[in-house]
Every structure is written in C-alpha cells, then in structure tokens.
Subunit: 216 residues, 2 copies
DNA sequence: CAGGGATAGTGAACCTTTTCACAAGACTGG
DNA sequence: CCAGTCTTGTGAAAAGGTTCACTATCCCTG
C-alpha cells in the first residue's frame, strides 16, 4: 500500500464539491476528463487520486456521480454532520455563524463562546453565546462539538486554544494570525486571508502568476 | 536563473509576517533556525527560498530583521498600500470591511458594492456602499482599487467577476464557492473555508494528519 | 456476436520541491 | 591576529508529486 499524498486528500474535497454540484444538477455520469475541466485539474491526477482509495469507476463509461460522491464522503469522513464550536463572536465570528455554505455542506454550529460579558447570554444567528470558561460544561450537553473555529483576538488565541484542547477537542480551524503551539495530536488548519492577498500583490507586481489553482 | 517555485513566494509572505512581529517586538537579528521555528518551517528551506531572490543575510551572524523585511516587501510588492474593492456587503463582506489585519498589513478598502438597493447609499464601517453597476464610474475617482474582494452570493459571482475584469481590475480574492471563468491575465485566489474543514474531518476520521503546516 | 470507440486503472518516466551536508565568510575573545 | 564558533549560501542527493502512455474493460451498433 502506497503512502497517500496529503495534497491528494485535499483535492478529494474539491472533487466532492464539484460532484455535489453535478448531483444537484441531475447529472448521473461523469468522466475524469469532464470532472478535471470543472476542477481545473489533470484527468490523470483525478484517476490517480481516486486510485489511492479504491476503484470507483467503470472502464469505458466513467464514474457514476452518486456512487463516487458517496464513496468520497465515506473516505473523507463527511457522510455525517460535524459540529462546530465558535470562539470569538466579533465581526468575523458573527459572519461565520451565519455562513450558509457551512450548513449546506454538513457543518453545524452547536456552541459559541466569547469573553465579552455583554455578549454572553445574548443570541446571535439563533445561537446563545456562552462564556469561554464554561467550555467543559457546555461540551457535556447539547453544545458538544467536534471542531473548534477560532476567531478571537490575536492576544487570546493561544490561551483559548489551550482551553479547547483541555476540553478534549482535537481539531481547530484557526482564523487568528497566531501560530498555535499545541500537542502533536491536535489538528490545526490556519486560515490567513492576508497571505492570499500577498500572493495577488506579487502576481500583480511581477506579472508572474503565483496563485493557487485549487482552493485551500 | 532558476525558476522560482510558486510556493516559495507564498512562504515569503509568511516569513514577512513573522519578521514584522519580530520587528514590532524590537528584535534586530534573527537566524534561519529561529525564524524556521516561528514559521514551522525548515531552516534550509528558508535560506533556499531567500536565495531565489538574492542574498540578504550575513554568514556567521544571521539576518537583520529590518533589512530582510524591507527586502521581502520589495520582492513581494508590499512596500506600498494596496487598495481593495469589496463586492457583496453581506455578513462576510461586512466582517471583511472591518477586518483589522487588512489595515495592519497595508490593505485598505476604498470601495464597496452591493446589488441590494436598500444597502446602496448607506455606510458600513465608514464605507459608503455603491451599486455594482457603477464600478466603472467609482474606479475613476477616489474609490479606485487594485484588488477585488468577491463576497457575493454564489449565483452572482461569475457575472460580477466579469464586470470587475471589464473595469480593468485583474486580481480577485474569491470567497464564493464558484470557479470563476476569466481571461488568463486575471489572477484569482480562491478561499474556501469548507475545504479546510474537510481536511480536519479527514484527519479526525483517519487519525492521519493532512493539515497544512503553512497558512494559505 | 464482433468490431469500434470510449474511459478507468496503473506502472514508469518525468519533473518539482525539500532536505542534507559542507564550504565560505563573519564575529568573538584572548 | 589566530583559533574557535556560528550561520549563511548552495550544489547534490533524496523525497515527493505529476503526467504520460498503455492495457484492461465496458458499452453500443450493426
């Protein structure tokens, strides 16, 4: 068994997204060439990426959209609802709470926390805000969640992430500019809009395209 | 002269970010080893990445933070202010308008557009909202901008991006889930939070870490 | 049921990127 | 001014990822 490139897993998520669109449009069959065009990828790469996990197509025919989508969701672990906990209900946090794409793709907020006592107890986008000190209590009840979304102020990010890990949550989507220092068994995805803008600046300044073909 | 890997350029932005932090903390000198620890990178890689663009260090000593930062900004084209135009003043758009990290790192919104006539004319985070039909007018005046930030509804993204390009703007930070079809001379960076969440799902489900070390 | 056309699956070649390892240069202390 | 220590810059090796090119398989048509 070969080692699967990390980046192949990321691309699987991309393929799944486009397969969902096809499925919504009622398309039943798709070839690696067509899917590649939609994703901006190479057909051979799609076939190879899929081959890391099994055989999902029919030679001479293509891939049945519904079947492949199901298989990919199984592989990715996205054939279920994942619960999110928000930390930091500022501008960005509020926007994330109401972000429709999350719900559409199986991600649901079940808890939201903030330090600001004026916010605690109020409701934003149908979600009651808790105190971040109470995380261990909240997580025992219906506010339990699988993945933390960190959107606090930078100076609270490290401290807050430690509390999250202590409460037993091992995955963090980090919107703060801080590099979190956490145990190795915690998964962290860093999102930094400014880094992406810098790529555009470089492209505009030099004329050479350094933008990513695939979303991240 | 070798070809510079795209990904090296992206990392440069990351290095610059951490150098700015060091600079703000009054640190004058840094070694590739120290900087690598901060960025979660390999020291040899940092040295190699820098070598693509010139020689910025002093052997036996390290890098002078201020000098290296200046050099990087020159290379990246970020030793100036870049003007942003927002399209779509929904939850996410509003959050982006007030996103402090943008201003801190040299990105300033000079215009904001929305289709909703109830919003047009009102002011959000000190910014007056224009009609997206008026982009060609706005861009002639003080609302001129270099990079478009696309945060419209998905069904308007393609259409809106075409208008942006027609108005002469060739760089787009795309927060919609749509794969924009645009001329080759337009630079597009796609930001998709859900793809990042999927990476976390896979990691949690399988136990194997597919998260990105470096922010994107 | 045979032939033609289409498309997945895959080993191998190719290309890119990362890491290693060491020479070159700079500072420090005596 | 010399020896020792430190750290950059860089060719070469290693690792990793992508693309090619071909085979196996399936469907459709006559």
């Amino acid at each position: 068994m070969h080692k699967i490139p990390n980046i192949a897993v990321i691309r699987l998520a991309l393929y799944a997204k486009h397969l969902e669109m096809l499925h919504n449009d009622g398309v039943e069959l798709v070839s690696s060439v067509k899917l590649a065009k939609m994703c901006g990828a190479n057909p051979a790469q799609i076939r190879k990426d899929l081959a890391y996990f099994g055989q999902f197509g029919v030679r001479g025919v293509g891939y049945y959209v519904k079947d492949l989508l199901g298989a990919l969701k199984e592989v990715m672990g996205t054939n279920r609802t994942w619960r999110l906990g928000l930390f930091g209900v500022g501008n960005l946090g509020k926007a994330l709470l109401g972000f429709e794409q999350f719900a559409q793709r199986g991600f649901v907020f079940t808890a939201a926390f903030d330090k600001d006592l004026d916010l605690v107890g109020t409701t934003v986008a149908g979600m009651e805000i808790s105190q971040s000190e109470d995380i261990k209590e909240v997580i025992k009840g219906p506010g339990c969640f699988d993945i933390a979304v960190l959107a606090t102020r930078a100076d609270r990010a490290q401290d807050c992430s430690l509390r999250i890990v202590e409460a037993g949550v091992h995955a963090i989507l980090n919107f703060t500019p801080v590099r979190l220092v956490l145990p190795d068994n915690v998964f962290v995805e860093n999102v930094d809009f400014t880094v992406r803008l810098h790529a555009l600046c470089y492209s505009l300044t030099t004329g050479s395209d350094v933008t990513q073909r695939h979303p991240r």
